[in-house]
Amino acid sequence: MTFQTSVSRKHRWHVLPLLLNNAGLIASFIFLVLVASVTISPDLLSSYDPIAADPIQAQLPPTYEHWFGTDHLGRDVFSRVLHGARYSLLIGVSAMLIAVVVGSLLGLLSGLARGFVDEIITRFLDVVSAFPDLLLALVLISFTGPGTFNLIFALGVASIPRFARVVRGQTFVVAESGYVEQAKTFGLSRTTLIWRHILPHAIEQVPILATIGLGTAIISAAGLSFLGMGPQPPTPEWGAMLSEGRNYLRNAWWIGVWPGLAITLTVISVSVVGRRWQAAFEGRRLV
């Protein structure tokens, strides 16, 4: 008698029981839902303007009026943190989108073409991944100049190899599989084969990798903004806010601590969800 030990395909989508079994995962999930909703409409929770300065109200500690206090220009920190979610999250997500699309296409091309094309793409990926992500992004921004779009571009490019490598490897495996050979005997065209049978399996793990990568991308984005490479003031981006708050840490801790906490919690939540998803996909229960 043989017992099937392979991962049932149904398992992957059983998010609910997973949630119920795990407090950390639930907390992460709720936090992310919260972040997502403030990204969509930050005015829901706060009516203060995140940009307009009001020097009379500067550096007020947290009170009932201003939950997180106000910064050196008298802006409500709570409101700025809420509005900042949009920038941090969108930069991370857009960078991942670039990496996913370009990386998957390169990987697929590399895996299908093999030979010379594969060699060239692989060498290119080797060069890109030889530099640490953050350093590469810094180099790219030094060419393009600071700014939100340049930051997205730089982070996206730096993450390409991760996706390209996985998709390339999977493409090799899937292209040799029995069902691709079988489909070939039906007289299907190469395009149909790739589209129907190779691509969907080759990119199976990409969403999971992207979720895990999103956490790193948000940290990198905040870090680069901190260095002034990202959105420019007065944009309420978390990294930039942290950078401003740093100067006042001694007498107004709340200006820097709240955006810092926002970054930390978001990245932890994204990572927890991503890792757990990966574990579920691979058929493990816990990380």
Binding site: S6, A183, G187, P200
Partner: protein, 555 residues
């Protein structure tokens, strides 16, 4: 009277596994008595409970298994109270276990010598172990044991590997050796070697418990046989008596399912397969010995669908390496079935791939309906591909796991331009032809049993109404009784649709049963070819004679 004490004495053994709907009984009321020096066989299909029973004998039925019995004695000890520590004392020293697949049961990263010395347990010192290892390898018929001890499993051939595995099981000279499907998935000549080795041990007075789905294997070895079905023993007795006059219809059915020379032209499974049902068939008791004839094939000997002309193929870049296929030629007439027989590595699958146009030959040509198939461009070939369909050995890997049965079968109709309602109608029609109902449309490959999968593969192959079917070992992964049903379906549909069949197998019985002509391949070359009955009745080439002599027969 002082009768010898049985080594195994089991009464009313029941094994349960917890399940979502309460516990399931996988073994019910099994009685088993094995005396020293006896050899006993457990026979049944997958799921009949034979392997679990065997595992229970060494305390490895599983963490969740609930093993109960009125009496469960091994070597006079009551093992029902055994704890893991007690079982460990028993394993290896009193009972040796030979698992089915030597390739996965031997650790690929450890030398044979290391694995053998593991098998000695934790008592003896090293030099003695070395000498004992040499003795044991020699006793399982491995020549040159010094060299083999320092080799890794992948450096051994399939036969040597299986012997090495048996060597690890008998290392501590256990009183009982349990062999779980020891020859399944082996080539005939290798199977012969392993059976001979076990038979030799049995003659030397060793106790043996063999587990198999194949009655012809069992008939070679066992004094006593237990036929199991759905967890129960349906028949039990002396092997010779059970095989010559089975009293239970299920045993009869298992015997009938074995494809042989005498089954040619007749069905192997007792009644026409009921819809979506495959295991619970029982021959009607009224007609135990009546064979049902298969429909007549319409062979048009004048029209050659497939002509293979001096094919040659060498893999890799070297120009000096061995040829995978060397000068192979044959032709296949419309409606005819041709078998290609050979052991693994003989090049038969490469021939199939060249016929399918998946691999291009280095020299020679494949002609399909008078067209030079191998010399065509892929774009020219594509419109004709639907006329040649493949039934693969491992149908699970030939199915896209994301697809359900409807899409799996439907996809073969893309190239012939059948879409929409017509497609659905055609899919239902071929599903019906393989006796699967419309409820299967939404099933995914993993939700199908082995036999059902192979039936879906057959339905898919017939869906575009091909002229030529290439079946590469389509039944070699199936139990004998499921194999019988699949072979019957294949024969029926082939006759009904008038397709030609290129049937590749290492099993001579299957080829003899199903095909009209046969070619025998060895090391890439055709050593003998002709009418299947002539070749098998009077083989001229020594290799064919060797193959035929090696297959286990029922008597």
């Amino acid at each position: 009277m002082n009768s010898p004490r049985p080594f195994l004495y089991i009464r009313n053994l029941t094994i349960r596994f917890p399940g979502p709907n309460g516990p399931t009984e996988v073994v019910r009321g099994l009685d088993l008595t094995v005396y020293p020096g006896e050899s006993v066989a457990l026979v049944g299909e997958s799921g009949s409970g034979k392997s679990v029973t065997a595992r229970a004998l060494i305390g490895l039925a599983g963490t969740y298994a609930d093993v109960k019995a009125d009496v469960f004695e091994i070597n006079g000890e009551d093992v029902l109270q055994y704890r893991e520590r007690d079982w460990r004392r028993l394993r290896g020293s009193k009972i040796g276990f030979v698992l089915q697949d030597a390739l996965v049961s031997l650790d690929p990263l450890r030398r044979i010598g290391q694995q053998l010395s593991d098998a000695f347990g934790e008592r003896q010192d090293l030099p003695a172990k070395y000498d004992r290892s040499l003795d044991i390898l020699q006793s399982v018929g491995i020549k040159d044991p010094e060299r083999r001890l320092s080799q890794y499993p992948h450096q051994l051939s399939g036969g040597l590997r299986q012997r090495a595995l048996i060597a690890t099981a008998i290392a501590q000279q256990p009183s009982l050796v349990i062999a779980d499907e020891p020859t399944t998935a082996l080539d005939v000549t290798v199977q012969r070697q392993v059976l001979d080795l076990l038979k030799q041990r049995q003659r030397a007075g060793n106790t043996l418990l063999i587990i198999s789905h194949d009655l012809s294997v069992v008939s070679q070895l066992a004094d006593q046989v237990l036929v199991m079905r759905n967890g129960e023993v349906v028949e039990q007795g002396k092997t010779a008596e059970v095989l010559s006059g089975p009293s239970h219809p299920y045993t009869r059915q298992l015997l009938d399912a074995i494809p042989t020379a005498s089954s040619r032209g007749y069905r192997l499974s007792p009644v026409a397969l009921e819809h979506s049902d495959e295991i619970s068939l029982i021959a009607p008791a009224a007609a135990p010995n009546v064979r049902i004839a298969l429909p007549q094939k319409q062979i048009d000997a004048g029209r050659h669908v497939l002509v293979v002309d001096r094919l040659q193929k060498r893999y890799g870049r070297s120009t000096t390496g061995p040829l995978a296929v060397n000068n192979v030629s044959f032709e296949l007439a419309a409606g005819e079935a041709l078998g290609i027989v050979g052991e693994s590595g003989s090049g038969k699958t490469t021939v199939a791939k060249m016929v399918l146009g998946l691999v291009d030959p280095d020299a020679g040509n494949v002609w399909i309906n008078g067209q030079p198939w191998s010399r065509m461009d892929e774009s020219q070939r594509r419109p004709h591909r639907a006329g040649i369909q493949l039934i693969a050995q491992d149908s699970l890997s030939s199915f896209d796991p994301r697809y359900n049965v409807e899409k799996l079968i439907g996809e073969s109709l893309d190239a012939v331009g059948i879409f929409g309602d017509n497609r659905r109608r055609r899919v239902l029609e071929v599903l019906d032809a393989v006796r699967l109902g419309p409820t299967f449309l939404n099933r995914h490959p993993r939700e199908l049993s082995g036999g059902q999968r192979q039936r879906v593969a057959i339905a898919r192959a017939f869906a575009p109404r091909p002229q030529l079917l290439v079946a590469d070992e389509p039944v070699s992964a199936l139990d004998v009784s499921i194999q019988a049903q699949v072979l019957d379906l294949l024969a029926e549909l082939q006759a009904e649709f008038g397709a030609s069949l290129l049937f590749i197998s290492h099993d001579l019985g299957v080829v003899h049963h199903l095909t009209d002509k046969v070619i025998v391949m060895k090391a890439g070359q055709v050593v003998e070819s002709g009418d299947v009955e002539k070749v098998f009745a009077g083989p001229r080439h020594s290799y064919t004679q060797e193959l035929l002599a090696a297959r286990p027969s029922l008597n």
